[in-house]
Symmetry: C2
Subunit: 406 residues, 2 copies
């Protein structure tokens, strides 16, 4: 039995919390499992290091930022190994490069390409609890990389896949995946199981419990993925391959207020305009959503779309950098809009889902700006001020109608 | 022209100081030199990390401590590279392992065994200012090591030797090597040159400007070694091979109050007793000095010796760990003694040096406990309370007599 556990920054934010996590690790070890533990940097360390890097050089190269940021996880893993040793358990810490995590050279958002499990297996065979630095790897040139957002989850899933682990457990500050954010929707229900695909949609729509990327990786390698509470003994949520796509059940309602609308106005309407805008966003690695256009009589048009609000500046820059290819008059942006989504494995086959959602919003007098759907999701854009309320009333309706199951 | 520069922790303690150092680095770069810069961790970082390690596990294995401590230099080098990039200069940071620094597996006090200069030379040939993490290396097993006290100086000298650099410049918070500690002896004179051997004696005797180990390495590879002030434009001191050993000149007077006396009492006087004590100290890597014995009528004896005060506990432990090999009644220790030394290239050939030193102490009514000499040094043990005063009056006498030259 081999288990990969991952503990995030808030779970190891101080020494007292680390001691608790150490006891949890030991409990798993005592159950007889071989154990690989992936840790994030403590608390706000990564944010603080990023701030220092911005302070000394807002434009400095990403390789050096990775050099700086990767110290955070190295700090965590050494401390955890020392704590476990004090408690009488053999433990060894490994950085990303020591754990054999080979990545692309895309500093700050590197992709894991391969894992050489030699050292990991050697340490496991010695009976060591192996503590691995999350969020980091090494290029073929010998440079340290970081994996970008959700990187430590990705490390854990990738290690579980490479080591063919029996389970990958993501420990966090919530006790599982909920049908909605319990801070916003008090009657949100904890799900005991959810499919990889639905979890990916929830993550894409703004649910913060897991990054889409790590869920996608788990799906690809069929790694049984658990979300559990770091400091509570609860069952958590299992993310696995969906059994059947029949029937309707809602896995979650998500309100995402961290979005921005970008509008490019006065575009000369020529062939290739769409391609050029999409391409510029793709090159900058910015996901876009809710794309729509407004045509004007004079042969120009406006194109608007939604991005994550923390990519707003990047998105505008990506377009203005391509101004020579696109003829437009101005770029504007706002953050007045929110996206509310319902993820349901029966969504596309069941028009009842969107219609119920629209009915609830209509009854509440909330105006829908735009709608977007996928195979297992329905999303609407509404005024940001109504977002949390909308999520709550939609969730309540689906709960009352029996569509949400624990 | 290739120059290796090293800046210590106090020189890079905060971002403002780092900016100053960056300007200094650029000045050297602008002179046309290729440049490797070795940095320590910022300010008290290493001490703070050691304290955290002690807090979570006073006995934790040294490999994990190295994992923790080595983050300090990695932090410094990334920041410096970012600062240099902002100022418009190509720079790249390399950790110890990236710089090819292979060491023994003696964690916390590893020895540099070899340097693979491939990556360093590649980065230099691209025109990069190469910023290397001091104090650290990698074992043949792929584990991170630290080099122990004075480790960053050793890194700089070893890199200078491996790269056949034209000079190795150690930047610090004093403007060179002085004939005595200027904080204690106000008329101390800055030396423009000193031989490797004399500098090693000064360092052994407690002068803090350089560790003996790095000077020994510079001597072995004949690396021209400079000590210069981090933030002032001054000539500094050149440490090089001594030209001639004729004539008398005093290179320094050192008072070392950080020593402890260990006494092992009631030892059964059998063959091998000395060997066993020396061997125990050697195994624990503890340098000893001023060894003397007192024989008793009953066939037992006491053996006393001096160690650095921060090794006192280790020394006592090394002996008690060997209690089964040595028959003794008790181990005692005290820190009431200080060592005052005169380093002079003519010391052994010129009895005038020790006699002048003893005369000064006699005139001042300071009692000498014990004397120890080497080819180029005379040391006395005296009461700690008189140490700084003794260093001052000895220095003044030699200065007045014309033995100390700038």
């Amino acid at each position: 039995m081999l288990i990969v556990q991952k503990y995030g920054g808030s779970s190891v934010a101080n020494l007292e919390l680390m001691e608790n996590i150490a006891k949890r690790i030991i409990k798993t070890k005592e159950s007889g499992a071989s154990l690989v533990v992936v840790l994030s940097a403590q608390g706000k360390t990564t944010d603080n290091l990023t701030e220092i890097a911005n302070q000394v050089n807002p434009e400095g190269d990403k390789r050096e930022r990775d050099m700086l940021l990767s110290t955070g996880e190295q700090h965590s893993i050494a401390l955890m190994a020392l704590i476990l040793q004090r408690l009488g358990y053999p433990a060894i810490s490994l950085t990303g490069w020591q754990a054999g995590i080979a990545t692309s050279a895309d500093h700050q958002s590197a992709r894991i390409q391969d894992i050489d499990t030699g050292r990991l297996e050697k340490e496991l065979s010695k009976g060591n609890i192996v503590i691995v630095a999350g969020f980091q790897g090494i290029t073929c040139y010998g440079d340290i990389t970081t994996l970008g957002r959700g990187g430590s989850d990705t490390t854990a899933v990738a290690l579980a896949a490479a080591l063919k682990a029996d389970a990958c457990q993501i420990y966090t500050d919530v006790d599982g995946v909920y049908s909605a954010d319990p801070r916003i929707v008090p009657d949100a229900v904890k799900l005991s199981e959810i499919s990889y695909s639905e979890m990916m949609e929830l993550a894409s729509m703004g649910a913060k419990v897991l990054e889409k990327r790590s869920v996608g990786l788990a799906k690809k390698y069929q790694v049984p993925l658990w979300v559990k509470h770091s400091h509570k003994e609860l069952a958590g949520t299992l993310i696995k391959e969906g059994d059947e796509m029949e029937g309707i059940s809602i896995s979650g309602v998500v309100a995402n207020t961290n979005i921005a609308r970008i509008s490019v106005s006065g575009i000369q309407d020529m062939p290739g305009v769409w391609f050029k805008i999409f391409n510029a966003m793709n090159d900058a690695n910015i996901a876009i959503d809710f794309v729509y256009q407004t045509k004007h009589g004079n042969g120009t048009k406006d194109i608007s779309f939604i991005v994550e609000s923390d990519r707003m500046a990047d998105a505008k820059k990506a377009i203005s950098d391509n101004a020579h290819k696109l003829s437009y008059t101005q770029i504007t942006s706002d953050t007045d809009t929110a996206k509310v989504s319902v993820v349901s494995k029966g969504a596309s086959a069941n028009p009842g889902i969107p219609s119920l959602m629209f009915e609830v919003l209509f009854d509440a007098g909330i105006n829908i700006d735009s709608v977007s759907t996928s195979e297992i999701r329905v999303s609407v854009l509404i005024n940001k001020d109504h977002a949390n309320h909308a999520a709550g009333i939609i969730h309540k309706k689906f709960l009352d109608e029996g569509y949400i199951k624990e």
